[in-house]
């Protein structure tokens, strides 16, 4: 009894010491972030809302890439470094197909734009999906039983190869994409327009996300994917074709990257051969933030990262501005991995230490 009483009477400082410094530090950071956001909201409310909308739009595009990382990590526990570059090649193929083959540009009529972009979407999805499957077949499958760092290193090599392909196709300078989507304002908040192109990009992602959820949670193939993710050997014993399931996962991840490539090209109207590396890492951060391997988490994390990026670049009160964006994203990545490696929605894994 005496010990119980003593346990209840611990002072708050002992409580902090027992819980460790990490949660306190985390709470402090989050509190500061919220304070900063609140001050900005009070000072420039219209800026804040329009920046938030842009952030969500950008976040949804990131989400498509992050899902690819999450799907592959979920099933193979492999950080697919080449994924960002598959996304970059998706941008490239959409651009070259839509602008050069079909000849879409800023002046195209509504009907042409709809069927042209639909066709481009299909082409980008098929191209990136097959590319991703090929990469898996050539580079990752032979190393399935190797030490875990081996496929990771191979993935870095694949990323270099794809980036080089992009460099040869796109050239070292950024390539500007014509404004195929209508650029007029849907609505205007205090002088900031929210464009039709942003709205269309944001709205396109939703059916894809729901389709993916349905595929993973309701279909037989999705069940096979989840089973393979849990235990490959056991899944194989239950009659699941593990290799085909993994290939299928890579196909899905690749086609999501294709969609993201097209949408990003339309949204930012600017593509570069090294965008895959940068956005890929941002998207990976998003996937880790949400809890890697967890699909809703990936989208949530991506929206948060998109918001943080846009807030950082668009707000006026004490915002570090775009030259620090990458540092901030990586700092978030490091903090999440060190303090909460399971992410916001994920489960605790042994990797987290």
């Amino acid at each position: 009894m005496a010990t119980d009483a003593r346990r209840e009477n611990i002072s708050w400082i002992q409580g902090v010491r027992r819980a460790g410094i990490a949660p306190a530090f985390g709470f402090l950071l989050v509190a500061l972030l919220l304070l900063w956001l609140a001050v900005n909201l009070v000072q420039t409310p219209s800026d804040f809302v329009s920046v938030a909308l842009e952030g969500i739009t950008l976040g949804l595009v990131y989400g498509l890439i992050a899902l690819g990382y999450s799907l592959v990590y979920g099933i193979l526990e492999l950080i697919n470094f080449a994924h960002g570059d598959v996304f970059m090649l998706g941008s490239w193929i959409s651009f070259s197909f839509a602008a050069n083959r079909i000849g879409l540009d800023a002046g195209s009529s509504g009907f042409t734009v709809i069927w042209g972009l639909g066709l481009t979407l299909l082409v980008a999805m098929v191209f990136c999906g097959l590319l991703n499957v090929t990469i898996e077949r050539l580079a990752y499958r032979p190393l399935r039983n190797a030490p875990r760092l081996a496929p990771l290193i191979t993935a870095i090599g694949m990323s270099f190869i794809l980036q080089d392909v992009g460099l040869n196709r796109l050239g070292p300078a950024p390539v500007s994409v014509p404004n195929i989507l209508p650029t007029g304002a849907v609505f205007t908040i205090g002088g900031h327009e929210y464009r039709w192109s942003s709205l269309i990009v944001a709205l396109t992602t939703f059916p894809i996300l729901f389709l993916l959820m349905w595929l993973v949670q309701k279909t037989r193939q999705g069940k096979a994917m989840r089973a393979t993710a849990q235990d490959q050997e056991a899944a194989a014993m239950m009659g699941i074709n593990v290799n085909r399931t993994i290939s299928f996962t890579f196909l899905i991840a690749g086609s999501l990257a294709g969609v993201a490539g097209l949408l990003y090209a339309l949204y930012s109207t600017n593509i570069r051969y090294d965008q895959g590396f940068q956005l890929g890492l941002i998207a990976f951060t998003a996937a880790v933030l949400g809890g890697i391997g967890n699909l809703p988490g990936a989208v949530l994390g991506a929206i948060l990262i998109g918001l943080i990026q846009q807030f950082n670049e668009g707000l006026s009160w004490h915002a570090p501005s775009s030259q620090w964006t990458q540092s901030i994203v990586f700092a978030i990545l490091i903090l999440i991995l060190v303090f909460r490696p399971e992410g916001l929605l994920g489960e605790r894994t042994p990797e987290g230490g």
Partner: protein, 460 residues
Amino acid sequence: MTELPEYRRPWWHRWTGLFGAPRRRWRALDDRQRWQAGLVLRAVLVVVLLVIAWPLGALVAILMAAQYLDPYIPNEHAWARRAVVPTIIAIVAITYPFYNESLGEMRLFGAFPDVNTAVIMGVYVIMAIGLNIVVGYAGLLDLGYVAFYAMGAYTCAWLASVQFAGQDIRIGAVGVGGTTPGIHISIWVILLVAGLLTALIGILIGLPTLRLRGDYLAIVTLGFGEILPQVANNGDNLAGVNLTNGPNGITPIDAPGFFGVNFQQGSGSFFTGPRLYFWFVLPLVMITVFCSLRLRDSRLGRAWIAIREDETAAAAMGVPLMRTKTWAYATGAFFGGVAGAYFASFKSSTFPNDFNFNISAFILSMVILGGMGNVWGVMFGAAFLAYLNQEGLANIGHSLNQTFGTHLEVPLYQFGIYGAIIVLTMLIRPEGLIPSARRRAEFHEGVADTPLYDARHDTA
């Protein structure tokens, strides 16, 4: 391809097969056959090198002959056994600047590397050996090694340039005008300071992150490797202080000096600048190799290898995980810092754009190509890839274009080629060209590296 049964295999399969599925067949050979096969393989290597350039082939042949003579050296002269090969290598290396221009052309590879390239090769060898301590010995994948290189380079730039023009500190700097403002400290001191400072950074980065395992650690190091150059890039106005001069970089940086001779200017036609840099990078490489080898065999080094092979088992045997890993980080960072400082002084400049992820991956591919964990392999990989990067690829492209009349622009394919090197090495020969026996066994037996799902680590 199905394997033919022994009685249907032609006689030459015994040796040509060694290129195909080597290990299984190698094990099937008896000692005498192994000796024969080794002889044939060495002869093939020498012939190939002779075709590329006769001096290369001759050098390798002499080294092999020296090794072959080893057992015939009588016991009372046993010291000679260990001295012959290093002496030959040392003589060849030290006199390199005198004869490199009269060596003629290599087939396909073009001219032999000039002395400046040799200095850069030496610097990359130091960095690769440093990374090898982290990746090869301790098995911690570090994708942000460039951060240490950057740290070393900026330390050198701060302590030996006009960056802090308000200060006027000069300690042992050679060839700096008396009226030049700024901090000017002897480069030899800075090398040590840069190494120690970078090691400190390595410990600071390592302490929070080394709890993570495997690929998570790789990503965190990648994050640091991206953050540091961006800090350097935005560092011209950190709360009003101009720390790094932003994207314009810090230049010029002082040159090292020796007995009053400034390395940038040289002295006479014998002690030219590049030659001095070259002769002083050699002892740096030697010290690095020596430290690396001695560390590998030390108690600490054996602890690193134990952690690499099985972390859980090592912890159970009483190896302090965090401390050992942090030491690996600090040691690797130390060499990265030293190499970075020497390189910055050699180039006389440091720019934030020198330190992007490509460099990390480039150094990593040196370690992988050469053979993780083996110092000699890593040295070879680093020297070869640095040479390719500096001169080789352009020369190869040039000679290909001449031979086949193509118009390849090799720089466009540079990183694709490094990527292909990484991928092909991992697929075909994951232990690298010159592996350490231990590492080879790990890759081929498949280490139980999968996490133990039922062993939860309590971190709270």
